[in-house]
Symmetry: C2
Subunit: 206 residues, 2 copies
């Protein structure tokens, strides 16, 4: 990859799940030649995660630069946000224009409502599967998957699965060696197999 | 544990490593009966992580409530902070009074400089081992460890090891079942063995 880094919008909202955002950003943030990261939320300024910490959104939806890539987390905040037409319209437009939209956990419900998953295979958190599925009737939901790479759209299972997905995306964009290096820097045991998903079985989604 | 939750100070500073903080907080933040979390930094307000995102520190050192527990991350910011007498003095005093001080990654250098590790076993990031060791000559540094629980002080290896340590601390405080539940909620494959450390060997610390 000799091009400029992809401008990655990390989407925040009240009640986002902490690790859904900061797992992938730990990986992408150490690859500044691949991703240039900024944060965006329905309103700019501090946004409180489900776990209670406040993270600064640099942009609101209106002022946000057009991203090349999006990272959409899950969390309890998605339950309200799926019905927020202004947010969903923004996500639909930005997702259509971006070359890469990634969701973690119940973030899949948001990109499903934005129509970005129609006709595509996708996965999500195994403990919220039925609810997420109800948000995207035209999506080919997969119960057993750590993450699913459909090219322009990549979805991951719950929370920590976002780290494995991020490494998978790095492997596709700049090679497996770089992904291994970034995993090693975090002393992280990368689950490299996107089909390995013990949690689907544990959640009774056999 | 029928007591009030432990007041946990999550320490931030410019250049902290993202996942060092947000891995453990993902776990602890879902156990509000065990930990009541607040953030503190040398100055209150937004603090930029090594990976570029800004997180709000609710308190500065002076205004910070006395914590029962501390979480001290690592990252490049530690290289300056080990020589910041005001911060190290604060950490020494708060760590002595707290019942639990935890470090992730090169955060061990900070608590070593604060004297909290003298005569104790401790570990740290395997790629920065020599530098961290130089910050605490009276510490019994252990090259092979995912985390080391010395009771009042618990240290972990690099970055993602903080998640395993956090689950280990939860297991000690409120039982292994709770730790498993919190890991499952994050769809996280907990490395339950504190002595399992592939990265020490990889870093040539055999």
């Amino acid at each position: 990859m000799n091009d400029a880094p992809l401008r990655l919008a990390a989407v925040l909202f009240e009640g986002f799940e902490t690790l859904d955002v900061f797992g992938p950003l730990q990986i992408f943030g150490n690859a500044p030649d691949v991703f240039e990261i900024f944060t965006v939320a329905p309103a700019s300024g501090p946004v409180r995660s489900r776990q209670g910490q406040q993270v600064v959104a640099e942009y609101d939806l209106h002022g946000c630069p057009e991203p090349d890539a999006l990272l959409v987390p899950g969390g309890w905040g998605t339950r309200e946000l799926v019905d927020d037409a202004r947010f969903i319209d923004w996500l639909a437009a930005r997702g259509r224009d971006a070359s890469l939209t990634m969701s973690v956990c119940t973030g899949a419900a948001l990109i499903a409502r934005a129509g970005l998953l129609d006709g595509r295979r996708a996965t999500t958190n195994k403990l919220a599967f039925d609810w997420v599925r109800s948000q995207g009737p035209e999506v080919e939901w997969q119960t057993h998957a750590r993450w699913i790479d459909e090219g322009e759209v990549v979805t991951s299972a719950g929370v920590s699965a976002g780290i494995d997905m991020a490494l998978g995306v790095i492997a596709r964009l700049v090679g497996e060696d770089r992904a291994r290096l970034l995993a090693d820097l975090a002393e992280y045991e990368w689950n490299r197999n996107p089909d390995h998903d013990r949690f689907a079985t544990a959640a009774g989604l056999a």
